[in-house]
Every structure is written in structure tokens, then in C-alpha cells.
Symmetry: C2
Subunit: 338 residues, 2 copies
């Protein structure tokens, strides 16, 4: 299991947690149209990408078409952060930050112990040299021993009370969803596709909003798994404060195999960390015609413009002929803000 604990990712997560950035502003597009039969994707600008999606779906659902896919094999997987909702800041890490503060409040002596002390005091010198696994263990400790019921309550409270600033206005977190992707999920489902989330986030965090935010039931959420044990006395699942499997990079195909057992014919991710490359590559191995959709965050005005250091995701898209969404050019509307 050790191979799954990708310590580097935990460090990145922690660095986000400890960098107490002011909440970034989301800049929002205007008016959201309801999808109509005439145009199933009203928030997508007309053009090659939109027509490619529609063409693919039409062929997949037309018997005797070369692109036909039997309904049971119409499996679509979507990354979440940066693909279905905004990830600046990453919503789960905002939650983790609060959970961390609560843990220290409950046990103030932690504030004098490392690595907690360094985290609170933003001691960059210490944090630069500390073993990554020490930091990862500190974060995970905050989740240890909780029951799923307690966790669900805590997350629900978070989503009920925390707000996001979008276009300098306060919004509920739900408004950080991308409207064009909501339409795409609906469009795929109305054509017999089974839509799954395949997220690097922890599975229960995303499940807590998957039905309300995306119309995706909890059993269709694939994500990073925490290690559990079944406690015989209380008959509940307890968190052991360890990660069982990280659902990122090569971990995405592995978790898809465990969960679905089929190669997705439609897969969507985004550039930022390179975390979706393997899922998109895997999708391309389907025996059916497949569709890979990579979201490029290139809209500095309405959302953000960020790029991977090595540009790996966009490069992979070019080499492998994946479809790239230019948020700037392909999306008429960005957010689902009403």
C-alpha cells in the first residue's frame, strides 16, 4: 500500500493549507440558459468542439452506426476539481484548513508541538526540511477515529455555512460549478451514459455534494480512499488516519478498475497538476470510439489563467489528439451562479 501514498501530493496539499491566502475572487459569466432539445449544450459556444461532442454522442446512440456503443458500456468519468468546479482555492483544502484549526482548538497543546507549531506559525524554514510523511500524518490524524456520520455532519455544516466570493459577490459554494459541464453531464445521461466522478479528493467529501451538485449518486463517486476498520463494538466504520489509495495520476485507472471494471469511453479532466493524464490515456484504450476532454484554464478575466510548469497535460492532449476546452473561447458561461 505504501506505493499509493504519494507523499509529494500530501506536501502540496499541506502547503495550500498553510498558505492562508485571502479567498480568491471568482469572476462569473452571465445568464444561464436551460438546455433545450434544439441545443443540448447552450453554454457552449458553437464551433468544432461543441459539434464534435454532439457528433460523438449521436453516433454512440445510433444503432448500426460505426460509433455505436451498447448502453451498458456508455461509461463517462469526470475529474472534479478544476473540471466540474473551480479549484482556486481547492474547496476540499479549505475544508481541511478549518478541520485542522478545530483540531488544534480542541487540543491546544498541539500548537506547541511539531509539525503543528510550524504550520500555525508558518515556519517556512522548518516546513522546508521536515519529512513529508510527518506532515501527511499530521493532516490525516485530524481525520482519524471519526465515524462517517460525524464526518458527514461536519461537511454538511461546512457547505451550509461557507461562502465563496465570485465576481466580488458572496455566493454559496455550489455556484463554483461550471455550467457547461453540468449541461454536458445532463446531455450524456439523457443519452444513456452512466456518469461517474473520479476525483483526487477524498471520496466522502465529494459524495456529500455529488447528488445535489451534479446529480451523481454516492455509488458513482470514485476518489481517494481512506483506510478504515469496522469496529465490532460500535458496528461503525472508523477512519484509521491513513490513506488506502490516492486516486490521482496512475491511481485513477486503478480506482476505475476497482470500482467500475470497464474502461470509460468518455473521460474529462483538466490541466494544472497533470493528474488526469493517465485517466484520459486509459480511456483511449477502449474498444469503442472514445472521447477525451481536457479543460484548459485560459480565461484570466472570467476564471483563472494557470498553466502546468511542464505543460504536460496540454502536451499529452496534442500528442494523443484529445479535445481541449478553451474556457475562454468554448464556454459562453463559466459558473452556475444564478
Amino acid at each position: 500500500m505504501k506505493t499509493y501514498i504519494q507523499k509529494k501530493q500530501m506536501l502540496i496539499a499541506l502547503l495550500v493549507i498553510i498558505s492562508s491566502l485571502a479567498v480568491l475572487s471568482f469572476i462569473n459569466g452571465n445568464g444561464i440558459k436551460k438546455a433545450s432539445a434544439a441545443d443540448p449544450l447552450p453554454s457552449w459556444n458553437d464551433g468544432l468542439l461543441k459539434s464534435s461532442i454532439i457528433d460523438y454522442v449521436q453516433k454512440a446512440t445510433t444503432a448500426n452506426s460505426k460509433g455505436f456503443i451498447p448502453v451498458e458500456d456508455r461509461i463517462a468519468t469526470f475529474d472534479n476539481d478544476g473540471t466540474l468546479w473551480a479549484e482556486e482555492p481547492t474547496i476540499e483544502l479549505e475544508y481541511a484548513k478549518l478541520a485542522f484549526k478545530k483540531m488544534i482548538k480542541k487540543n491546544p497543546s498541539l500548537a506547541q508541538q511539531q509539525p503543528y507549531k510550524a504550520i500555525i506559525q508558518k515556519d517556512k524554514a522548518y516546513l522546508a526540511t521536515v519529512d513529508e510523511s510527518t506532515l501527511a500524518a499530521a493532516i490525516l490524524k485530524s481525520l482519524s477515529g471519526t465515524t462517517e456520520e460525524e464526518f458527514e455532519k461536519s461537511v454538511k455544516a461546512y457547505f451550509d455555512t461557507v461562502h465563496y466570493v465570485i465576481q466580488k459577490k458572496i455566493h454559496p459554494v455550489i455556484d463554483a460549478r461550471y455550467q457547461p459541464q453540468l449541461e454536458l453531464l445532463d446531455y450524456l445521461r439523457s443519452n444513456g451514459f452512466k456518469t461517474f466522478i473520479c476525483t483526487g479528493g477524498t471520496i466522502e467529501f465529494v459524495r456529500s455534494i455529488s447528488v445535489k451538485y451534479y446529480g451523481i449518486p454516492s455509488e458513482q463517486v470514485i476518489g481517494t480512499k481512506l483506510q478504515y476498520k469496522f469496529d465490532e463494538d460500535s458496528r461503525t466504520i472508523l477512519r484509521e488516519g491513513k490513506i488506502a489509495s490516492i486516486c490521482d495520476k496512475g491511481g485513477k485507472p486503478v480506482n476505475i478498475q476497482w470500482h467500475i471494471g470497464k474502461i470509460p469511453v468518455f473521460a474529462s479532466g483538466n490541466e494544472k497538476s497533470g493528474g488526469d493524464i493517465e485517466m484520459l490515456k486509459y480511456s483511449q484504450m477502449s474498444k469503442y470510439p472514445s472521447f477525451q476532454l481536457l479543460v484548459n484554464h485560459d480565461d484570466a478575466v472570467r476564471e483563472f489563467a494557470y498553466q502546468e510548469k511542464n505543460n504536460a497535460s496540454i502536451n499529452a492532449a496534442m500528442v494523443n489528439k484529445w479535445h481541449v476546452v478553451s474556457m475562454k473561447n468554448d464556454w459562453k458561461t463559466i459558473f452556475s451562479t444564478p
Copy 2:
């Protein structure tokens, strides 16, 4: 992960593999009736158990009833071996036995190496003293490096060619299914329940027949997970020859949490190894009215009569007021043999 590798279970598995028992006879009941609207469970004898099932389902689906369950929470989990099909001999272990023989045929020098030598020569003295993990590793090695596609082909060939002896007649393996349980699965589904398999068997083995045998899609099969890696060059999932998580005993609730994220309201298992006790206990923690169904193998004439050494499953059923199926008294027909 180490905690999940329950070595004892691997030993039990191996002992079954090496005991080259003649194929046991399945004794089959008569005529299979199709379920009708009047009687959704025609292969169940009328009585308290049958009426309890029907009463539970009717209340679960009646709005304003005290027992009503929203459709999205109508989650049912069924064990497979001994619950949905016969387990004397265990069908997956019959497959493993063949895979093992093939491995030695491909690499005959293995036959001179331990523990393979002892297995072939049925060297009980060696096998009684060897470290269990050595044996487990030997079995798992036979699955290492295979792609899922190769495995699927191999399993398909197995189910297409291997036969079972039922009532002294040769039958395809499919006939080892329990007809009353097939009717129960259908009945639950026609009332909005989502049916899952939760098996101690390896997930891909059971998936290979889940649609055809039980009408359950691959994404609704939960089972023992093998450790995989995504191979970047071939873009395929490779088996690493290790177990990631055993879906038995306390591993069943854990795997249900990972896969579904909800407590099943209906759970069915069987007595033999005590492997379903935790799943049934967990199901009882649902906030909705729940139903636990334990199959008791007490029909020496039409199936088998076997009992756990410590009788733990039946005792747990008594203490926790679970429903116990007496195969002898409650089932009019046992097998799905046409």
C-alpha cells in the same frame, strides 16, 4: 494494507485447491416457476419468512408508511458463494486450481520448487508447517502480470467449458445459482432497490458473470481487490500479485463504504465461514428499517448440510433477530437448473 491480508483465509483457499476432491454432486429441485404479479417469489414456500420479505418490501415502497425508504437509499447487498450460488466446491477455487496447473505446465521447473512441489505432490507434512504467506504468495503469483483483458478471456473460457454435476447430470456452471435468490433479486429491483454483490471472491471473477447470471452490472460488484498498477507504456492495468483488500468479515463493511458510501438496508449472506456476520450487523445500523437474511445450508438431500464449527453465524442471527432461510423448509426449489 498488511492488516487486510488475512493469511488464514489464503491458507483455507489453498487447502481447498490442493484437495483434489471429486466434483461433488448437486442435487436439484424440480420445476422453476416464473415470478408472477400474484406471487413475486414462487420458489419460496409460503410461511413467515416469505411474508416477512414481502411485508418489508411493501412498506419500504409505500409513501407515508412507517417503513418507507427513499428510492436512492434502497441499497441491497448479497454475498455470492453459498448465498447466490452453491459453494461446494467453491467455483472460484476450481478456477484457481486450473490456473495453477497451467502455470506449472508453462514453467515445469516450478514443480520441483517449494511450495509448488508440495502442492502437486500433496505433501501434507510440508504444507502443515510452511508459512501461510509463502503459500498465499505462490497462488497470487499465478495472477501477477496478467492484464484484465487476458484474465477476462481466461475466465470466459472457463465458464464456457467447465461443467458441474447436479443430480448426477452434467450442467453448465450457471445452473448452480439458487432460484429463490434470483427471484428475490428481481423482486427487490422491481421495487426500486439497487442490488449489489459483496463477495469474498475476487471482484473481476464475479464480474465476469454478474450480468448474465444475476442481472447485476460490473459496477455493482464489490469484492476482494487485487493490487494493480497502471502501466504507462502499454496503458493497461497490470496485476501486481498482491491483495489490496480482502472483502470478507470486517472487510465487507469497509468495502461497502468505499464502493457505495451508504449502509445497505437489505443484506443477505450465509453460514459456513462466518464471513457475512459483519455485513449483516452493519446493515442493521441503517437509519431505515433493515432486513438481514442468512441462508442456512440445512438441506442434505437437495443441496448440502454443513455447519460452522462454532455456529457463529446462526448464533449471531438469533441474538440479532435476523431472518434465517432454512433451505430445506423455505425453498421450494433450490437450483436454477432448467
